[in-house]
Amino acid sequence: MTAAAPESTSDGGLMRVPSERIGRLMDLVAELSLSVAETVRSPDLVGLDLTHFETAVHRLMMIVREVQDAATDMRLVPVDEVFKRLRRMVRELERQTGKKIEMVISGAETQIDKLVADRLYDPLLHVLRNAADHGLESSEERVQNGKPQTGSIFLSASQVGSEVRIIVADDGRGLNRAKILSKARERGLFGMEEEPEPSALWKVIFEPGFSTAENVSNLSGRGVGMDVLNTTMAALRGRIVVDSTPGQGTRVALHIPVSLAFLDCIIMRLGPRLYAVPIEVVSEIARPGPDDLPKLSADGGRELFRLRGKSVPVCRLENFFDGINDPARAPDAPPQVIVVFQTANGNLAVPVDEILDRQQVVMKPLAGRLSRIRASYGCALLGTGEVAIVLDCERLVTGGTTS
């Protein structure tokens, strides 16, 4: 926040504001934008000639949007705070591993929601430990391979669209495909003959209990703490992308939404239920032709969606979720639309009855009984006053488990 009390000069015009007070403002802004939407869509207005009203509404909506952005901005803090704490850990890591480590930080000024920043330290420390412990070689080994004696870990942050990308990269030995694949097969993560894409394979190093280190150190390698990364990323609606080149190093990128409060979503209807999906995971919306949805008899009647010569697995929400006993679709109902989501585990095609809208929604966490809804981040309050379930496509593609 840059607005300041006029007399405060010594502290560079900054004000300390309790976070509850900002939270209260955020809640009010959210309610404001909902009531505005409700007013504007009031059924009483249907059929009226409202030229001036429309213009005024347009301006009002713009202002509400700006107030929303300003309120969201207020909660943004630089990731620097987290990065500084991590930098302090490097000395500790050097001492524990006996390796020489240099940490290079960039993009520390990148802004992120305070609520997100507060939860980033543990998962990032985990990734950092992994890099120091498994990624970097010992000084002798590095010299033998013609690398500088001191290993480097690059910690960087940048904003790409509505996402902040935090990258932990090392210049170590890289991931060992053969070793990780055999271990992953042993644990049943891949079939014995399966040759997964590198990006799919590398992700398994963050599976709980997965570690290929021969000697277990007290830093990492015990397979504990792995959950902290996966669970935090799921809670923050983030994604993990791992990339590695043998001999050159490993790069772990965490893609996290800048703010958790407002969400740009596609609203979809299936039967009487409404679902919302963050816009960035929707890769395509398609209307399937008659032969585009072959049903396989194997594997309990799995369906595929044929899209430009590729097969995308189909997930029917009415089968995925429990407790849906809607009457069968009328034969004369308009054909369904297929929404293709991109997830870390590949694309997923989800048939819905219709796409309703694209709108910024206010997301509420699922409390109490509602927390039992699988594959959901929360519920979205729509401008119409309706409630939609915000789908977590990552959990949808893995069948509801939190991986």
Binding site: G323, G368, R369, G385
Partner: protein, 175 residues
Amino acid sequence: MTAQTKIEDMSAPVIAAMGEDENTIADMYLTFDLGEEEYGVSIAGVTEIVGMQRIMPIPDMPRYLRGVINLRGKVIPLMDVRLRFEMPERDYDDRTVIIVMEVEDAPVGLIVDGVREVREIPPAQIDRRGQISRSGARSTIAGIAQVGERVAVLLDPSVLVSDGDIAIARSAEAG
């Protein structure tokens, strides 16, 4: 404060009708009807009583959780207590109300046939036996109260909401 307080305005927060004496709140119960039976919940957890609203169905819930309502920006799941107790389903009418409660820090609305009254029931009039069912699970019944000539079954909302007494039957085909 009299022992019985009729609820005149159903939409008014019950607490407002209760007066300030905190000591009595512990013994105050909101009683309601389910068919011919009378039930009650401690007023301490009740935040308000609202009329029937448009229910939006949500996935992954048992049949007795009918969906959610948006109550002034709060999303509240609704439990049809009739269905919860496997009583016959009944169309909602203008007596049907939603008792909105705060149970373990989360809001929940109970759909009941109609509310009766808010009344004081001293502990001496409540039979607390039978809180553990035969299966060893906690019962939804917190006690049986003698109210004049009638009997009111006092419910434990946390068991009611958590399904502590029943196993959730997950359909076999669910992933």
